[in-house]
């Protein structure tokens, strides 16, 4: 599978899942695709359908209304699939800690392979995170 993982590492298709974020991480994720950062040179592409995705980029604290949908989404994705949680919200829930409409533990909803903390993480940090994921795949 080594050979296949290398192919996978060079062609990560990203599906963007927003679980009640403040929008900023999402914007920064899109920013990654634009001229300054251009993740397409690493073979990363944003796709619209979960069926095409290799990576789920999760943002936000995930409120209770959206959690079952995200779970469903994760189940509908073709395996292998990686979940990368972007931002401080999924990592530590920062200011929303006391919210009544937040799921207790995001890991209960979907397993998360990697956290990229930051509010929002700088694009450079996200690229580093992606590079680490690629590094894992490359062995």
């Amino acid at each position: 599978m080594g050979w296949y993982n290398k192919r996978l590492a060079k062609s990560l298709w990203v599906f963007h899942v927003s679980g009640s974020p403040c929008n900023n991480c999402d914007i920064e994720i899109l920013d990654l695709l634009t001229p300054k950062y251009d993740l397409e040179r690493l073979g990363i592409k944003l796709v619209g359908s979960i069926r095409h995705a290799d990576v789920l980029l999760m943002t936000g604290v995930m409120n209770k209304k959206i959690a079952p949908r995200i779970k469903k989404l994760y189940e509908q994705a073709p395996k292998p699939i990686f979940v990368v949680a972007v931002g401080s919200c999924p990592a530590s829930t920062i200011t929303f800690k006391k919210s009544y409409n937040r799921v207790e533990k995001i890991e209960d909803v979907i397993p998360i392979d990697m956290y990229i903390p930051g509010c929002p993480p700088k694009p450079e940090a996200m690229i580093e995170g992606v590079a680490k994921l690629i590094g894992v795949l490359n062995g």
Binding site: S18, G19, P21, D26, T34, G48, R69, T95, S99
Partner: protein, 391 residues
């Protein structure tokens, strides 16, 4: 009748949101909206937070309006006690606010391009948005959540040695913005695609109480910066852009022209910052009892904050009304009878920010009509503990 779901996860929507289009063939007959996917409910958080904390909290209502919300919030707090702010702070506030407007409008322009499949526009707009973020980084130290606002002024000064660099960036932006304005005015393809699409009539704009570029494109004037000038807006010179057709194309043009106005304001602010010296913050010890309305013209329209204070350092009621909250219902008027492709770009045309729509609300202990003095509180607490021990 067939129903087409749009959302909660759809490439058109950066955030999760759900629209249900009723279609006949490709024509949208009806639209139904279900929101609440982004609702994080800050009430319980707010019971713990002071005014200062809540400013940072409202910053995280929305990542794109991360200056507008704090700004409206501090306006509301200042409105309670008529707190005055120093001149230098006024210019810094307006500078940051206008920079945010530029970056937000460019962001929308790019996304709108992406939504109609014009990725070139997307990439170009976002390329020219990058210097704005750099300026923000230069001023505040962060690309997105700036943390600049504070009751009585701003949190950080803009050091004089940074001003020339800001100037340089601004020149670049202005040049590119003029180019983009020209493209928006000339490009026949864009015109063909967007003209007459998703028209929001003047009457509907008023009925739905739409604000910002959405209403101004429909010929309903109203710009908080002109109507209720705060900060530096009565000190600088700028125009209010009002167009009349109300279609997506006019919404685009309004935004593009507003960018140019914003650049103008920024330039004036930077120039003034060279001259106006002094403090950037009046220290505010205590906010008194009372209620205050704060408003600010966010990129998407009027942001409205209502804060009720009982004299402690916390709000007992904090109401936030984001512009998208009143702009999104206009879909009911503008999306009916057009094709799916048109309806989807119309959905994007008000530059909806769902995070804002389902914003936080704050409320404090509602039972404290009067604030009990510390001694009573202490006694009560002792009483309570004693009871618990006895149990």
């Amino acid at each position: 009748m067939s129903k087409v779901p749009v959302g909660p996860f759809h490439p058109l929507l950066e955030e999760a949101e759900y629209f249900e289009l009723t279609v006949d063939g490709e024509t949208v007959i009806d639209i139904d909206m279900e929101i609440g996917w982004m609702h994080r409910g800050h009430e319980y958080i707010s019971e713990m937070s002071s005014f200062t904390q809540s400013i940072y909290l409202v910053e995280r209502i929305c990542g794109i309006c991360s200056t507008s919300h704090p700004l409206a919030c501090v306006h509301a707090i200042e409105d309670i006690d008529n707190i005055e702010i120093p001149d230098r702070a006024r210019y810094i506030r307006s500078l940051v606010g206008e920079l945010e407007r530029i970056h937000s409008h460019l962001l929308w322009l790019g996304l709108a391009g992406h939504f109609i499949g014009y990725d070139t526009v997307w990439m170009w707009a976002w390329k020219y948005r990058e210097p704005v973020l750099q300026m923000m980084e230069l001023i505040s130290g962060n690309r997105n959540h700036y943390g600049m606002m504070r009751v009585g002024g701003v949190a950080r000064d803009v050091e004089p040695e940074k001003l020339p660099e800001l100037h340089k960036h601004l020149d670049m932006i202005e040049e590119k913005m003029k180019m983009i304005a020209k493209i928006a005015n000339d490009d026949p393809v864009l015109k063909k695609r967007l003209k007459g699409v998703g028209v929001l009539t003047q009457e509907d704009a008023r009925n739905y109480c739409a604000t910002g570029p959405t209403s101004r494109a429909s010929g309903v004037r109203g710009d908080v910066r002109k109507d209720d000038p705060t900060d530096a807006y009565d000190l600088v010179d700028f125009k209010e852009i009002v167009l009349s057709n109300g279609d997506v194309y006019d919404k685009l043009v309004v935004r593009v022209l507003e960018i140019i106005e914003s650049v103008k304001i920024c330039r004036q602010c930077i120039d003034k910052l060279k001259i106006v010296k002094g403090s950037f913050w009046n220290k505010v010890e205590q906010v008194g009892e009372g209620e205050g309305c704060g408003r600010y013209e966010a990129p998407r329209g009027e942001v409205f904050h209502y804060i009720r204070s009982d004299g402690t350092n916390r709000p007992i009621r904090h109401k936030v009304r984001a512009p998208s909250y009143v702009n999104i219902p206009t879909y009911e008027a503008s999306c009916k009878g057009i094709s799916i492709s048109d309806a989807l770009i119309t959905l994007a045309s008000v530059d909806p920010c769902y995070c804002c729509t389902e914003r936080s609300m704050k409320i404090k202990d509602v039972h404290n009509k009067e604030v009990p003095d510390l001694l009573t509180l202490s006694r009560n607490k002792t009483e309570k503990i004693r009871r618990e021990i006895n149990d």
